[in-house]
């Protein structure tokens, strides 16, 4: 029987926490970019965009992330295409995050009074200028709290990536507790690490909110 010190536990959890960070970044960047593109397509009233994005949002908000990860990994494999866990996780997290973000941001843009669009239009600004200089700066301020609230959820949601073989924080905690027989210590450490990841983001959001007021 090997003895595990607290440092052994923490060290191994920290190594696994790197994957949680990487997976979260993938979700933030991929989901943010795709979410923004979908948002612009929608408010620009591109033909068919409204219905497509509404359907997209329904599908990815209405199904569990776990299923999306499964399908992205094993489902694509059924068509004879061999996807690496990286590709499937990137795909699933991007789809999932973008569906939520685009819907959150659409509400923020809709909250900007119509008169702001009309003033910008009557000053001869084109659509891009209206968005960049008038609408988005105002929408951004109201978007910060719900966006951060959701991103913190995503950080915790990355735990589900363990189903396709990622040993991230939660999965590592499981494995370590199985060999140390100290589940309370291990999972207390796991919870602490999630908190350490999430709390600065909430703090930063508060700071941003104050700065943009």
């Amino acid at each position: 029987m090997v003895d595990f010190t607290l440092w052994d536990i923490v060290r191994n959890l920290l190594l696994a926490a790197r994957w949680t960070v990487v997976l979260s970044l993938i979700a933030f960047v991929g989901g943010g970019l795709v979410g923004l593109l979908l948002l612009i397509a929608r408010i620009a009233r591109l033909p068919g965009a409204e219905r497509f994005v509404a359907g997209y949002v329904q599908v990815f908000q209405g199904t569990p992330l776990l299923m999306q990860l499964f399908l992205a990994y094993f489902g694509i494999g059924l068509f004879g295409i061999n996807v690496s866990p990286w590709v499937s996780v990137t795909l699933a997290l991007t789809l999932y995050t973008s569906a939520f973000l685009t819907e959150i941001w659409r509400g923020c843009v809709a909250a900007i009074p119509k008169g702001q669009w009309e003033a910008a239009q009557s000053l001869a600004m084109n659509f891009g200028e209206q968005l960049q200089h008038v609408i988005f700066p105002q929408a951004l301020r109201i978007a910060i709290p719900p966006t951060v609230g959701f991103l913190v959820q995503v950080i915790k949601g990355t735990a589900l990536a363990s189903v396709v073989g990622f040993v991230e924080l939660t999965r590592a905690g499981n494995m370590i507790s199985n060999v140390t027989y100290a589940p309370f210590t291990v999972f207390a450490c796991v919870a602490l690490m999630y908190f350490v990841l999430c709390y600065p983001i909430s703090l930063y959001a508060k700071f941003l909110e104050r700065k943009t007021r």
């Binding site: 001869a124 600004m125 200089h133 700066p137």
Partner: protein, 254 residues
Amino acid sequence: MNVSTSTEPQAPIVQITALRKSYGTNEVLKGIDLKVARGEVIAIIGKSGSGKSTLLRCINGLEVFQEGALTVDGKPLLYDSPMAMRELRQHVGMIFQSFNLFPHLSVGRNIMLAPTLVKKTDKVDAAEHARKLLLRVGLAEKFDAMPDQLSGGQQQRVAIARALAMEPAVLLCDEITSALDPELVGEVLRVVESLANEGMTLLMVTHEMNFARKVADRVIFMHQGRVHEMGPPEVLFGNPQTPELQQFLSSLKD
């Protein structure tokens, strides 16, 4: 159509021909014909729902009309061409009832934004122009203020300066004093009057009949989506021809 039309002194700056607009099955403008000469000041009056604001908003393309034609400075309104709309809107300024200043930008940057983006004016020149315009509307010291630090009357005067910064040929005023406290109406109307005296072409939807009588060259009474009566203010107010206008004017008195 071409440059020569706009250089003739007789050519109307705004020409509206047989304009019809409906929301679904509800027709709100039922064939409007209107020619506005350069430098003319036109007041549009009428009950709410008579289509006066809609007509004004058609002139810079904020509302889409279904039939008829509209030209500003000889250039036709083409909804499908963003380039043509951008060109037209540079000739038409608009001031709104609710001011619609950009709340996240300072007063100075509100005024500078469109010239620097659309006309590619240099930042330094745009700032200098903005300060001149603020001086003109009596707010020289408010360049760095934020809109929410200003009174309604001050905000509306900034909105006027912002519209003027694009050097429009026509200025549309959509009930610009309706959202103001009574004691703030005068300061805004004085600015508008000075613009009229300087030869700006103005089309204003207004409930300020005394102001219309004093400043307008021509008053248009709209009723049920049509130009019901039109003429110089002394005739229209002094000797209204139609029972609708008589009723409208008498309803204002009590």
